[in-house]
Symmetry: C2
Amino acid sequence: MASWERPEYRAMKALVEGRLPLLMDGASARGSKALADAMRYSLLAPGKRLRPVLLLLCCKACGGQAEEALPFACAIEMVHCYSLIHDDLPCMDDDDLRRGMPTSHKVYGEGMAVLAGDGLLSLAFETLHEDYALCSGEPEKLRRHTAAGRMLAEACGACGMVAGQAEDLAAEGKAVPGEALDFIHVRKTAALIRAAAGMGAVLGGAAEEDAREYAAYGESLGLAFQVADDILDVTGDTQVIGKTAGKDAAQQKATYPAVYGLAASRVRLAELTERAACALGRARGDAAAIGMLSGLARELETRAK
Amino acid sequence: MASWERPEYRAMKALVEGRLPLLMDGASARGSKALADAMRYSLLAPGKRLRPVLLLLCCKACGGQAEEALPFACAIEMVHCYSLIHDDLPCMDDDDLRRGMPTSHKVYGEGMAVLAGDGLLSLAFETLHEDYALCSGEPEKLRRHTAAGRMLAEACGACGMVAGQAEDLAAEGKAVPGEALDFIHVRKTAALIRAAAGMGAVLGGAAEEDAREYAAYGESLGLAFQVADDILDVTGDTQVIGKTAGKDAAQQKATYPAVYGLAASRVRLAELTERAACALGRARGDAAAIGMLSGLARELETRAK
């Protein structure tokens, strides 16, 4: 059974999907209906919820309660969702289809799509700060929570995800050397998945050296995720992957298959999967939860075979 | 002498303009040069720095140290700057000129302008979280600082600035009733100026009831600022206001002069100035600093006469 069909995964996913609409409702009650509609369309669209579930699983692996980490799980999904909306814009990747549905700007127009992304990024940090206010009477918890928030802020910012997107944009149509490709994807995709795992560990109360291993696992998993995605863009069909296949090649995007070829990309994927498993092997935590995390990494590899 | 020519204002402005490049350098060292260039272009462009200076002045009025509030002052300027970049995009207000310089997308292209805005919004929250990490050993300070951060997150988000921009966008070319106009501008412009004043007071250690008055002052000042701006778009020239005059009317934007006429807009401006002064009159704090704040409100009125 694939990880995302297992009861543990589904239970965490259900927690996230139960909370997201409540956070949206809270945010839109005094706001703009037009904006809230556009934000809701993308945030509540069906998806695997990899980042928030990963966060909750890592929290649980380290002995924490999912409920305590839930605002952070929702915040990271908001950040991911905003990045997809902006990435799909005509001035960026110009994609019409996302998760099998028309992209935000196709439905609401470009201006509103920009704002829906802005609103989701803001809502992520509003959600964190609401959480901080709730633990303002518990200094140690507040310290731990703001440390987790810092990991999110660093991952999504000008040294993280946005930097990766900027380099990706600048590289379009150009020959890209291998190290530039890693620069792009370590930031564009892996940074947020790394943060998900690291934040979960910190929120679960992991010791610093363990949190580092969970973060390292997340980074390898995230990069593996990108390599698998690039491979599927070449070998998959639009129906299965839920977005326009062959788009990367058409846009001369810097992908692993384009730079290294398909066979070498599959070797890279296997190495990253192995590296993710090794990091987990060094981390302390609940064995069943760790098994689930390592299963996740293995399935990515299988999916792109 | 205008407030922004007075030594107290210039000293605060110099603090902000000294710190902003350092925060940018820190953010870009491990990031994307292309992205950092675009962020720097807008963030370091000359400007009045109204929001950060207001924050520092309110902090000082409440007995706080400017140095302690400086990361927050820089963060609010980053948020303001990101909002201008996105607002100027072709799919939004489509403006070629900002503060007398070509807008971000004219220089770097639309995709990079979207990312520069995203990067600045992220950097604002990264800056706050760096500050939180520095006060993690001082529970009361951390509580106060996260409370100030929450005011920023709320002001810029889906119930604040972005909501105002969304309604503004949705209203383009339509007849807008007065209350919808207030909805737009209370959020689009006043929310962030309100947050600047309120955050400054909280960081300066103000009692809750005083912080509320500073925030109320900020809201009236912010709305006055918008009314004055709308008036100047009609009566000013491009050279003086540093952006394309007459643009609002050409785009059928919902402005105060368009809805109420010029004379009634000036009456509204005077009322808001008076309301700002009254809120300050009720707040406790350093008399000289409060005098400076009330001078700021009066000059807006004069500027648009």
